[in-house]
């Protein structure tokens, strides 16, 4: 994971081409959501040891935001999906 990422658009590319934002699991609350919901979205993280989903941006490539599903202990990557496809399809 840390060395090479398979971008769904560009293929296997070195990690340095990407920038990483963080946890891709929290969903942005609706405009009418409570301040608690916003607090949870912006600040609170499950941060599990094991399988996570994380936003990676192919900043030096196709400029797409990707959701990388991977293990944060073994660094194995299970899936890389275009974030928009996930967002449109409803987060899995």
């Amino acid at each position: 994971m840390a060395s090479l990422i398979t971008c769904p658009h560009c293929g296997r590319r070195p990690k340095e081409e990407f920038s990483i934002r963080g946890d891709a699991v929290p969903e942005r609350p609706t405009p009418v959501a409570s301040e608690e919901a916003w607090h949870a979205y912006v600040y609170l993280r499950e941060n599990p040891r094991g399988t996570i989903r994380e936003y990676w941006h192919h900043a030096a490539g196709c400029r797409r935001w990707l959701v990388v599903e991977r293990d944060n202990v073994t660094h194995e990557v299970y899936a890389v999906t275009d974030a928009r496809d996930l967002a449109k399809g409803g987060a899995a």
Binding site: L4, V73, H75
Partner: protein, 985 residues
């Protein structure tokens, strides 16, 4: 040439004499020598001093694990301390010096430490040097520090070049001994793309010192034939002098190639070292096995080395390590060494075998002492005798070298770098490579195999598996027959009892058995505690030689098995790697990319002084005539803009083109203020927040056409804003029809500001620029005279009548020239970002000096830009939290020193007048400051607690780090044209 060199033996080229020096004395060696082999050939055994006790030391290995023979190589800026003489390829003009000895290697005052060694045991420094407290930094630590380290660094700029490269292969083979060669051959014949990496300058690994016959030829001849076949394969890349130092995620290996480390003066056309990132589909670790030293009293004298090293010096370099060599062994290696020495005519003092009996054959006439041990040694700078002991009876045996063999440890380092721990094998009495999955496997002696024939076969078998897994047909590879190989099996012997002198475990750090015992006694028996408490394994060899012995000794002391003790953590780098190789070309001015604006040339020819702004070089100010300092230039530029006009390069601002039917809706959601109804042909200032409600960035967005907007960002945040927009559109609102492209580099953009700017601009623009037809905040395409289509925005950072004109980058300089020419009669000047900063401070416009990531819109007086009617925008959700709306937040105000000559500086703190500085007394800080030629004094913007209520108050500007304090008056943060009359003329 010298008495230790044996005629007609070895793989050195005796027709090529290599001259070198050590500690100022000239010596000769041959091409194919290492520094260590050449010194040994010259009867130089003493090559270094140990770290703590400054004990005299000679090489104990002939390879990369060497803890003792560390020297400083090279001169001046090419000085390289701590170079292992055992792997340093000899070259003509090599200059080497000994280390950690004063006044000389032979007579080293530091060796007095040995006398105090009972007081300098493991961890002694944690128990003392505490009284009195002030003496630590003043006395004790300087003394300890002076003793620190081995070699000296010169810290001069490196004159040589380095580079980096990627390589890709189906199979990476690490090591070119019997298993590595067979693996490469098998995979190569099957058509795989193979990289064969070998740390040595010569391929062959252990075969180079092997005396068995392989396929009917000598081992070195077998190597030569195999390498020749591999070299002819277009799909095989052979990389000698290349050490694979790290295994990283996704089967990426880090390797460093010594390209020109074997020449005195490197050619400027090539790098001296090259870093490789090797992406391999599969890899085979064929790094061999390390022979373990024996842990007995006095085991560190120069002349004592491993049996394997003895054989290597003998067979590969044609060097006898002594005239009369004793052998201390627990297995077959000692006997093979005796046989080889004997065959070359070297006298053997005796073979001391720790086992009661063995099936190994000693050469004719050589005495074998079974159930024997060594309890002490004698000699100063070189071994002169060993005290053996058998059944309690001592016997002193004269010898000038000792070959020792304590068994074998597979070199599994790389396979353990990603979390897996090596696995103890009772059968092999060694830690074996862990199972890390099918992609990376060990072969040969790295996998625990013992004999040459087993290693050859295992290399072929492991490569065979890789070939099949990669879906290729395996070609036919015969494993050649081996004649005359020996059985390297051994009986474990971790500690030789009855030691009458220190029995060293970690040679370089002088960790001996008593240290480990003390650590265990004090509760530091966990292998990691023992390592950290005694420093065993923390020297430059990282315990390659001693760690397994240390683990077994700890196991014995704790009464458990080595498996229960386990190993310390293996981490990169397998062997040390230079900073230079890892940094590559990124150094000095080239350490990061340089960005210059399309108007850089224009600015330069107009006399600009440039300053770094992130990766950009921006024009700071333009010196004219007799101006002697930057202030004179900046003051002139500022006044001229307010009186006449000035032209400033603002191309570095981020520029993002936004398209799509939902662009308006999208902008409305990413800005805190309203954007839905921005008319075509208009620009609007916008504020972007982070989701936590703090200001993220600001800028203008203009609607050029119905579904086409152009956004500007600050220079610093251009990339972040672009990524932010992409994130919002792709993940929050994927259904909105909106697209972006960054065009920051495609446009040259210039600000033309000042009361005469319209007159000047009209001279080069076809369109009518009157206030009626091109009013404040107008933004649209215009035709320049001559036909170029440009974008014109009537926006102002200075507060004056002003425009920003954007033209395709390639036209930038010509257009700027045209404007300067058109403005010549109107008194136009070029101005830089320093003047721009003054102009905006005078006007109270914010930059990231105020928007430091902790400010809200309201803090900087832009609270009205927080839309209350929009249902959603980024940052809305958390913007009303208590802490973000508290009355005592820092708010932006203006500041004017009460005394006109006081220079206000950004970064000064604010205090209430008459209050002592303290933890709670701080009132804020000066965020921006400048000399305002318009006002005629220094002014500033400041973030002040409840600032807007405090206009008129006198406050203390407290600048302790610049040793000034004075009173200033809090004022509204606008110093020029508060009613914005100038904008609308």
């Amino acid at each position: 040439m010298t008495s230790s060199r044996i005629a007609n033996v070895g793989l050195i080229d005796r027709s090529r004499i290599v001259k070198f020096s050590f500690d100022g004395r000239a010596y000769k060696g041959f091409e194919g020598d290492t520094l260590a082999s050449a010194l040994l050939a010259n009867d130089v055994t003493l090559m270094g001093r140990s770290f703590k006790y400054h004990r005299p030391r000679g090489p104990v290995t002939a390879g990369p694990s060497e803890p003792n023979a560390l020297v400083t190589i090279g001169k001046d800026a090419r000085t390289e301390p701590n170079t292992r003489a055992t792997v340093a390829e000899l070259y003509s003009g090599l200059v080497a010096r000994s280390q950690n000895a004063w006044p000389s290697l032979k007579y080293d005052i530091g060796s007095i430490n040995g006398l105090f060694s009972p007081m300098l045991g493991a961890g002694f420094y944690y128990k003392t040097f505490m009284w009195p407290a002030a003496f630590w930094e003043k006395l004790y630590e300087p003394v300890i520090r002076r003793a620190a380290g081995l070699g000296k660094a010169v810290l001069a700029a490196d004159p040589d070049r380095y580079e980096k490269s990627w390589a890709h292969c189906d199979l990476l083979v690490i090591g070119s001994g019997p298993s590595g060669l067979m693996a490469a051959l098998t995979a190569g014949r099957a058509g795989l793309r193979v990289i064969l990496a070998e740390q040595d300058f010569r391929l062959g690994g252990s075969l180079l010192s092997e005396t068995a016959m392989i396929g009917g030829v000598s081992a070195p001849d077998f190597v030569a034939a195999t390498v020749a076949e591999l070299a002819d394969m277009p799909n095989v890349t052979i990389m000698p002098r290349t050490t694979v130092f790290g295994w990283y995620d996704d089967m990426v290996f880090g390797a460093v190639e010594k390209v020109q480390k074997h020449v005195a003066v490197p050619s400027a056309d090539k790098p001296v070292e090259r870093l490789w990132r090797i992406a391999a589909r599969r890899a085979i670790l064929a790094a061999g096995a390390e022979e373990r030293p024996l842990v007995f009293g006095g085991n560190d004298r120069p002349g004592i080395m491993t049996a394997d090293a003895t054989r290597t010096y003998l067979n590969r370099y044609g060097v006898a390590t002594g005239r009369k060599v004793a052998i201390f062994t627990n297995g077959g290696s000692g006997y093979r060494t005796a046989a080889d020495l004997s065959a070359r005519g070297v006298n053997i003092a005796a073979i001391i075998d720790s086992r009661a009996a063995s099936a190994d054959f000693a050469p004719y006439g050589v005495r074998v002492i079974c159930s024997g041990s060594i309890v002490d040694t004698k000699g100063g700078h070189r071994l002169s005798g060993i005290m053996t002991n058998r059944f309690g009876y001592d016997e002193m045996i004269d010898c000038d070298a000792l070959a020792m063999s304590g068994g074998w440890s597979p070199v599994v380092h790389l396979m353990c770098q990603r979390g897996a721990k090596p696995v103890w094998s009772e059968e092999a009495q060694a830690f074996l490579a862990p199972d890390v999955g099918p992609l990376f496997i060990a072969a040969g002696s790295a996998a625990g195999h013992a004999t040459v024939s087993e290693c050859l076969r295992d290399g072929a078998v492991k490569a065979h598996a890789a070939v099949e897994a990669l879906g290729r047909l395996v070609g036919h590879v015969n494993t050649p027959e081996v004649e005359g190989e020996y059985d390297p099996s051994f009986a474990p012997l971790w500690y030789v009892p009855g030691a009458r002198a220190k029995a060293f475990v970690d040679f370089q750090n002088d960790v001996h058995v008593d240290d480990l015992a003390l650590a265990t006694r004090e509760g530091f028996g966990h292998v990691e505690h023992a390592k950290r408490y005694t420093t065993s394994g923390m020297a430059t060899d990282q315990g390659k030689l001693g760690n397994v012995n240390a683990v077994a000794l700890l196991a014995g002391m704790r009464g458990v098995s080595p498996a229960q003790v386990g190993t310390t953590t293996y981490r990169p780098f397998y062997t040390p790697v230079s900073f230079g190789a890892l940094a590559g070309t990124a150094r000095a001015e080239q350490s990061r990319p340089i960005r210059t604006s399309p108007l850089h040339g224009w600015a330069k020819k107009n006399g600009a002084t440039f300053l770094e702004s992130g990766l950009w070089y921006r024009s700071a100010y333009f010196v004219q005539g007799e101006e002697k300092n930057w202030r004179e230039s900046v003051d002139r530029e500022v006044l001229n803009v307010r009186q006449n006009a000035g032209l400033c390069d603002v191309s570095t601002l981020g520029k993002i083109e936004i398209f799509g039917g939902d662009a308006a809706e999208f902008l409305n959601r990413v800005y805190s203020n309203a954007f839905l109804k921005l008319p075509v042909g208009k620009a609007r200032y916008g504020l972007m927040l982070r989701e936590d409600g703090m200001v993220f960035d600001d800028g203008t967005t203009s609607r050029l056409f119905e579904n086409h907007y152009v956004m500007t960002t600050t220079t610093a945040y251009a990339a972040e804003v672009m990524a932010h927009l992409e994130f919002a559109s792709q993940t929050f609102w994927p259904d909105l029809d909106v697209r972006f492209v960054s065009t920051s580099d495609q446009w040259a953009q210039m600000a033309l500001a000042g009361p005469k700017s319209r007159t000047i601009l009209q001279k080069i623009v076809e369109d009518d620029l009157s206030d009626a037809s091109f009013p404040f905040l107008a933004a649209r395409e215009v035709q320049l005279k001559g036909g170029l289509t440009a974008r014109l925005f009537r926006i102002s950072f200075s507060g004056e009548l002003a425009y920003e004109l954007a033209v395709p980058a390639g036209y930038g300089e010509a257009v700027a020239d045209a404007i300067m020419e058109a403005g010549g009669g109107e008194g136009i000047c070029a101005y830089g970002v320093e003047a721009l900063d003054v102009l905006r401070i005078e006007k109270g416009h914010v930059t990231h000096s105020e928007l430091d990531g902790r400010t809200t819109a309201d803090d900087v007086g832009l609270g009205k830009m927080m839309s209350t009617s929009k249902p959603d925008f980024i940052g809305k959700g958390l913007s009303s939290r208590y802490g973000l709306t508290a009355a005592d937040r820092l708010q932006m105000v203006g500041l004017k020193p009460v005394e006109l000559d006081k220079p206000l500086k950004a970064g000064a703190a604010l205090l209430r007048e008459g209050v002592e500085p303290s933890m709670t007394a701080g009132q804020g800080f000066v965020s921006s400051a400048c000399f305002s030629p318009h006002i005629g004094q220094w002014i500033g913007l400041a973030m002040l607690k409840s600032g807007r209520e405090r206009i008129g108050e006198k406050i203390l500007v407290w600048d302790a780090v610049r040793s000034t304090e004075f009173l200033a008056e809090v004022c509204a943060p606008v110093f020029v044209d508060p009613d914005n009359l100038n904008l609308h003329v």
